[in-house]
């Protein structure tokens, strides 16, 4: 009984501790929740810059017109410590970005969900993503 109570206490605290926190800036100030986008494109380059890295992709629409988009990522230091490096995202790689467009309507989006050709969602917090404490992907 005593140990069950203890675990209950611990679990309650865990839920509190996992409340959302903001990073370098609040994404909601930059991107528009009313403008969800799904971009299927080809990487043209990845900018490894602070405070956030950016992936640039060419997206072709139904008419064949190509538009270049910028997708905001996390901080380079953390990416590197997670094992993501310059060889992970390279020009020519096909990716799918599920995110939200910039409030000013320009071709910038946040990477709510970035999927790579092998189907691996490297940047999402699901299991198998390399998130902290995550089990290795099977």
């Amino acid at each position: 009984m005593r140990s069950a109570t203890r675990i209950g206490i611990v679990m309650g605290a865990a839920l509190l501790a996992a409340a959302p926190v903001w990073a370098h800036h609040a994404f909601a100030a930059e991107f528009d929740g009313k403008k969800p986008v799904k971009l299927e494109g080809t990487v043209t380059k990845m900018e490894w810059i602070n405070p956030h890295a950016w992936i640039h992709i060419d997206v072709k629409d139904a008419d064949g017109k190509v538009t270049n988009w910028m997708v905001e990522c996390g901080t380079p230091n953390t990416l590197l410590r997670r094992g993501v490096n310059k060889n992970s995202v390279t020009a020519g790689m096909a990716i799918v970005v599920d995110g939200y467009q910039a409030k000013d309507g320009s071709n910038r989006a946040n990477g709510r969900d970035v999927t790579f050709p092998d189907g691996k969602k490297v940047f999402l917090g699901n299991t198998g993503t390399g998130a902290p404490g995550d089990a290795p992907e099977k």
Binding site: H25, F27, N50, G125
Partner: protein, 323 residues
């Protein structure tokens, strides 16, 4: 693991008794070439222990080792999920999901349930009326002028200061890395987050005149036994550590308690903001990592995006009003 648990018990027991960690331990601190206790190297203060004790742990200042392990497991598992939300504003914010964070997976080595050790309830003391008034005024200012210009945005977005980078140094969402350098007359602390270096003179020179204000304040250090004590004043009125005033008087204590641990403690004394002083304690762990550059101004497209977004919203509102 057994050794770790045993160590933790010793740490916890000695802290319970309100005694310094070093007094209980046989370990003799390493010394620098000039005989100072050696704090040098790269350290991380990443931890999931919250600043304030959660309400459901109110009567529990310490975990047992097994409780700590269960807590860590729960926190990590709970955070490591796709938090897609139907509320799009929240969903946009949560796009910055767990894979981006690097906030650690462990509680502090003392197994405390909060970083705050004084007051004993692990909670921040109440704000003074002046502290409350200042907080309300700031919130109102931000509501009325969210993004007229870059000056309206927070110091983090402007790449000026990270609120946890110190002093005092607090665990944050990522880049929780510090490198300490010691010379005979100075200690320097390089902070990865926004890449600041704090220079701490060890002589007895007085603080700067009160009219001279600095983002990181003005630090003076001295040794008390094996503990480096750093006294900091002369903050700016914009530094605002958790809403503090420019007259915040901060005292930090660094004690290396074993080869891999610095017990870092700070006391916040700011009668203009809190009704009494408060103290927090964090264990810093020796890191095999290196401190990477975090040149925040390098490509701060986010600021441009936020201001452009604010202008677009104004135009949209004006057009809607004209119809």
């Amino acid at each position: 693991m057994k050794l770790q648990c045993a160590l933790v018990s010793v740490l916890a027991a000695s802290m319970c008794a309100g005694q310094g960690l070093t007094a209980k331990k046989a370990w003799t601190p390493l010394r620098t070439a000039n005989g100072q206790p050696d704090l040098q190297g790269v350290w991380t203060n990443a931890t999931i222990t919250p600043l304030e004790r959660p309400a459901d742990l109110a009567a529990k200042p310490f975990f047992t080792p097994s409780e700590a392990a269960a807590y860590e497991k729960q926190v990590v598992e709970n955070a490591n999920v796709d938090r897609r939300r139907s509320d799009v504003t929240t969903d946009v914010g949560l796009a910055y999901n767990e894979a981006w964070w690097d906030r650690g997976t462990h509680v502090v080595k003392t197994l405390r349930t909060s970083l705050i050790v004084d007051p004993a309830d692990g909670k921040l003391p109440a704000l003074t009326p002046e502290g409350e008034r200042r907080a309300v005024a700031l919130a109102e200012r931000r509501r009325l002028h969210p993004a007229d210009g870059p000056e309206d945005r927070g110091l983090t977005e402007r790449c000026i200061l990270w609120p946890t980078a110190g002093p005092p140094m607090m665990p944050s969402v990522y880049n929780n890395n510090y490198q300490i350098f010691q010379g005979p007359e100075y200690v320097a602390i390089m902070v990865e987050m926004i890449h600041d270096v704090r220079i701490i003179p060890l002589d007895t020179r007085p603080h700067l005149p009160s009219g001279v204000r600095q983002w990181l304040g003005d630090s003076r250090g001295h040794w008390e036994g094996n503990t480096l004590v750093v006294d900091t004043t002369n903050f700016t009125d914009k530094t605002k550590f958790r809403g503090s005033s420019e007259n915040l008087h901060l005292t930090e204590r660094f004690t290396r308690t074993d080869p891999d641990t610095i017990l870092y403690e700070y006391t916040v004394n700011d009668p203009a903001t809190w009704t009494k002083p408060w103290t927090a304690q964090i264990t810093m762990t020796k890191s095999a990592s290196r401190v990477y550059e975090y040149a925040c101004h390098e490509g701060n497209y986010g600021m441009m995006g936020i201001l452009a977004g604010a202008r677009a919203e104004e135009t949209s509102s004006a057009n809607a009003g004209a119809k």
